[in-house]
């Protein structure tokens, strides 16, 4: 008798049914209830199709039709880690925390693997994620095995912390769904630098629940750089209390399909949120940034700048929604998304969206799409700069704007290197 591997949603649901008594925290009733609830949502909706408005431009069919195994055994042997950006780092291999590869000693706060500390996560886990609304969050909740747990006490300056996620190619498609919980107490500060690398046909489906208390400040830099066979579908939920700040800078370049989805809610007066990013795609790749920003308190400010560069047969998507609630008077919201098309076969789809229910607000968005400006190219060439170099200058200038506002030099350096690395690969390929 042959066993037919089940694909897509059915495969994941079957896996959940088979594993549910063995998943981390299986003896905790609250967690079992959370997982069962998420499984019910995922069973009801499956992977979203393009008929779902939020997925109009990104087709998950390649994910929904594939059959993914789970990385059951721990990977042994040497693992190639990306160069360190900070002395303290938490390393995850195939979604599992590896204390042996991490350096987290002497921290003034807790940063560790979630699986071993689920008992402490009850109040945080599931408090922000919405499995009923986002099927990928449901999938994550149903099957997560591990993740990063960061908890900064009030007033602590955590400095830099690095989160490294490595996928080791086992030669067949596999999936992992880490759940990362980050909590900053009142007035705490942290810069979190995240790098996702690795090869193979992996589905990396992380969910972040980020809770920023009053006057706390989290800067979250992300470099999504898995190999060209990978699917990276990440969903971030952030809640920012009064006078708190959450800054997100994402560079997405590498995977076959990237979805960078961020839901941020400004829930206290004078909270702020910056969401910036650059996403790039070359031949056969698809990049999608989808943001949703809730202004749910007065006097909050938000800034978003997203850049997309497309080469070859590729597709880029930007969807950004700003929702200003009735109470959110004196809101100052700004969003800009710009796309550069370097190829005849690229496609960009953009949907900036404002939903405003308060009257004393200042909200604006802008979107532009175009090719490299021929006048600028001509200007540079007229000054003796070869065309290839002129193009590089213009593309880099375009991309760097997304990370210009990063104040932490280490983070800005890392993000800039990630941007430039993508462009050199593209230029070399062309």
């Amino acid at each position: 008798m042959t066993v037919v591997a089940q694909t897509g949603a059915a495969g994941f649901l079957a896996r959940y049914e088979g594993l549910k008594d063995h998943l981390p925290g299986a003896r905790k009733p609250w967690l079992n209830a959370l997982r069962a609830d998420a499984a019910a949502h995922f069973a009801a909706r499956g992977f979203p199709t393009r008929r779902v408005e939020q997925w109009k431009y990104t087709d998950l069919a390649p994910v929904a039709q594939a059959s993914f195994a789970e990385p059951l055994t721990m990977v042994d042997g040497a693992i190639a880690l990306p160069a360190a950006n900070a002395p303290n780092r938490a390393v995850f291999v195939d979604g599992r925390f590896r204390a042996d590869l991490s350096t987290l000693d002497g921290l003034a706060f807790r940063a560790t693997g979630l699986a071993q500390h689920l008992g402490d996560a009850e109040s945080h886990l599931g408090s922000l994620a919405k499995p009923e609304a986002e099927p990928l969050a449901a999938l994550n909740t149903m099957l997560f095995e591990d993740g990063l747990l960061v908890d900064l006490p009030d007033g602590v300056d955590g400095g830099l912390l690095e989160l490294v996620s490595v996928a080791v190619d086992p030669g067949r498609p596999f999936a992992f769904h880490p759940r990362h919980l980050v909590r900053l107490g009142e007035g705490a500060r942290l810069t979190l630098i995240e790098t996702a690398t690795g090869g193979g046909a992996c589905l990396h489906n992380p969910v972040f629940e980020i809770d920023v208390a009053e006057r706390a400040s989290l800067t979250h830099g992300r470099m999504l750089q898995e190999g060209s066979g990978a699917f990276h579908l990440s969903t971030i939920y952030a809640r920012i209390a009064a006078e708190g700040t959450y800054d997100n800078f994402t560079v997405a370049a590498g995977p076959r399909l990237t979805r960078n989805e961020i839901h941020a809610a400004l829930v206290g007066p004078r909270a702020a949120c910056h969401m910036n990013g650059a996403q790039m795609a070359g031949e056969g790749q698809h990049v999608d940034t989808t943001t949703s920003l809730d202004h749910a308190a007065p006097d909050c400010a938000s800034r978003q700048t997203y850049k997309t560069v497309l080469a070859g047969r590729s597709r880029g998507v930007f969807q950004g929604r700003i929702h200003v609630h009735r109470v959110a008077q004196k809101t100052d919201g700004y969003q800009m998304n710009q796309a550069l098309l370097l190829s005849e076969e690229a496609e960009i789809d953009s949907k900036p969206q404002l939903e405003i229910y308060a009257d004393d607000v200042k909200c604006s968005h802008g979107a532009t799409v175009g090719a490299l400006d021929p006048d600028s190219l001509f200007y540079l060439r007229a000054r003796g700069i070869p065309e290839a170099q002129a193009r590089t200058m213009l593309v880099e200038a375009f991309l760097h704007e997304a990370v210009d506002t990063v104040t932490d030099e280490t983070l800005r350096g890392a993000l800039t290197r990630a941007l430039d690395a993508w462009w050199s690969r593209q230029a070399a390929a062309a």
């Binding site: 431009y57 690229a346 953009s350 949907k351 607000v361 604006s364 979107a367 799409v369």
Partner: protein, 498 residues
């Protein structure tokens, strides 16, 4: 200061009368039985003495409609519509060919007088023979087609237009007189199965205007249609078709009103425009259907499909709309830019006050090379009004050098209303350039203060600022309409400033 005088006058008028077009004309009407089925479609077609192919066409639309679901994606809320509880055909019983004003039904004349149509044009509208040969002194002549509930009651200036070969008549007449044109173009821009409301319209449309401008003709006057829903429980399903042949030009105006009623009435129109090489069509609308009362009771559901095809090279279609009325507006006048270097424009002002809801915008499909489009949308929300701009700019792979510029501005008056912007941009062409800008704000305190300091009342000041906010759009309107539109803006905002 004429603007101020105007404002004061308008505000006074508004305070006295509210929605002054809310009267009902007591006129003898002929109805088809309530409800919607194949027999009604056949009844309408028979009443209009239509050829067999058109009946078939309607029946196909009806069959399609039955398989379709009402769209629910717009940001508007309303209770389910009972499509069986409405009359699909209502016509004033008229005597054929009145020879003088005395023979015209006096109720009909009164209606036109109340609507503010000048006496001379009333004569023309009522079809008094010989009345249309000379335009009233000092005014540009405007040819008018008036549609009363389901049928076109009169078209003026026909003879003058015929001299240039321009055809301007009701669509029922065109079906009889110019069947070849109708057969060729009807449904060629908005097919029967395009959407739920277009399918409904295709099945039961009762009248509307038809315009054909021959090659190289610049239409000698503005053409205008006046729509009026009068009878109770009627839906209005008019169909307008405008064809501008090579090198021709036409400007077309559309106005609408309806009596005040507590129940909601459905208006599902379809407008199709076709522009050939070097032709240009300018389509202006001042929509002032009854918006419902201050508590949101009653009003028109304005669910309209308007689309123009720029088929020829260098053709141009320009939509200008001022949407002040209707309980709910669901309307996206669009341009299909097929011909190379063709141009599409959309200028819109939409106001929602009290409990009005508007979900409106445009779609620009860039297909041909070097096509250009401009979108300027101004949304104003007051009271509990909800105002959404929803638009699509799609640039196809072959639209090399295409260009789009979009600007959407929203103004909020009061903290119970909402303003939303949902633009979709889809670009498959590297050499295209697309720009989109949107802002949302309220009337600045310093602007108000400045006006108040100069002796303007709060309402006058708001009126002045709102008019300034809408100027970019209003200036696109033909003169007479622009004045009318300015007044309407103020009336619509009546009661929103406190």
């Amino acid at each position: 200061m004429p603007a101020v005088t105007e404002t004061i006058e308008t505000v006074q008028a508004a305070t006295e009368s509210g929605y002054k077009w809310g009267f009902e004309t007591d006129i003898e009407m002929e109805f088809a039985p309530k409800g919607l089925n194949e027999d009604i479609v056949r009844f309408i077609s028979a009443k209009k003495n239509e050829p067999a192919w058109l009946l078939e066409w309607r029946l196909r639309a009806f069959a399609l409609w039955k398989t379709m679901a009402e769209p629910r994606w717009a940001a508007v809320k309303y209770p389910p519509i009972d499509y069986q509880d409405s009359y699909y055909y209502a016509a004033p019983k008229e005597k054929v060919g009145p020879k003088s004003l005395d023979e015209v039904d006096p109720e009909l004349l009164k209606t036109y007088a109340k609507l503010g149509i000048p006496l001379r044009e009333q004569e023309i509208l009522a079809g008094v023979e010989g009345a249309g040969s000379t335009p009233a002194a000092g005014r540009m002549p405007i040819a008018v087609d008036a549609v009363f509930d389901s049928v076109s009651v009169a078209t003026s200036y026909k003879e003058r237009l015929a001299k240039d070969g321009v055809i301007f008549c009701s669509i029922s007449e065109a079906v009889q007189e110019h069947p070849e044109l109708i057969k060729k173009y009807l449904g060629s821009v908005v097919p029967q199965g395009d959407n739920f409301f277009a399918a409904l319209n295709s099945a039961v449309f009762t009248d509307g205007s038809f315009v054909y401008i021959p090659k190289g003709v610049r239409c000698p006057m503005e053409l205008s249609t006046y729509f009026r829903i009068n009878a109770k429980s009627t839906g209005q399903f008019e169909r307008t078709l405008i064809i501008a042949d090579e090198g021709s030009q036409v400007s077309y105006l559309e106005g609408c009103t309806a009596p005040m009623r507590d129940e909601n009435q459905l208006h599902a129109a379809v407008v199709e425009l076709v522009a050939m090489d070097d032709a240009s069509i300018k389509y202006s609308t001042v929509q002032n259907w009854y918006p419902g009362d201050a508590e949101g009771k009653g009003g028109i559901y304005n669910f309209v499909t308007k689309r123009g095809a720029c088929r020829g090279a260098r053709s141009k279609i320009s939509w200008t709309q001022v949407e002040t009325g209707s309980a709910i507006t669901w309307k996206y006048p669009s341009c299909i830019l097929q011909g190379e270097e063709s141009v599409g424009e959309f200028y819109s002002v939409a106001i929602t006050n009290n409990y009005q809801q508007a979900d409106t915008g445009t779609k620009m499909f860039h297909i041909g090379p070097r096509t250009k489009s401009t979108i300027v949308s101004k949304g104003i929300s007051a009271g509990h009004g909800q105002n959404t701009y929803r638009g699509l700019v799609r640039i196809g792979a072959k639209a090399a050098g295409a260009r789009n510029f979009t600007q959407c501005d929203s103004l909020l008056i009061g903290d119970l209303c909402g303003a939303h912007t949902v633009p979709y941009i889809e670009n498959r062409c590297a050499t295209a350039k697309v720009e989109h800008e949107a802002t949302t704000s309220r009337i600045a305190e310093d602007q108000l203060f400045y006006c108040r300091q100069r002796g303007l009342t709060q309402e006058e000041a708001v009126g002045l600022i709102v008019n300034g906010f809408c100027r970019e759009v209003l200036k696109e309107l033909p003169m007479e309409f622009a004045v009318e539109a300015q007044k309407l803006l103020q009336i619509s905002l009546e009661g929103s400033v406190g």
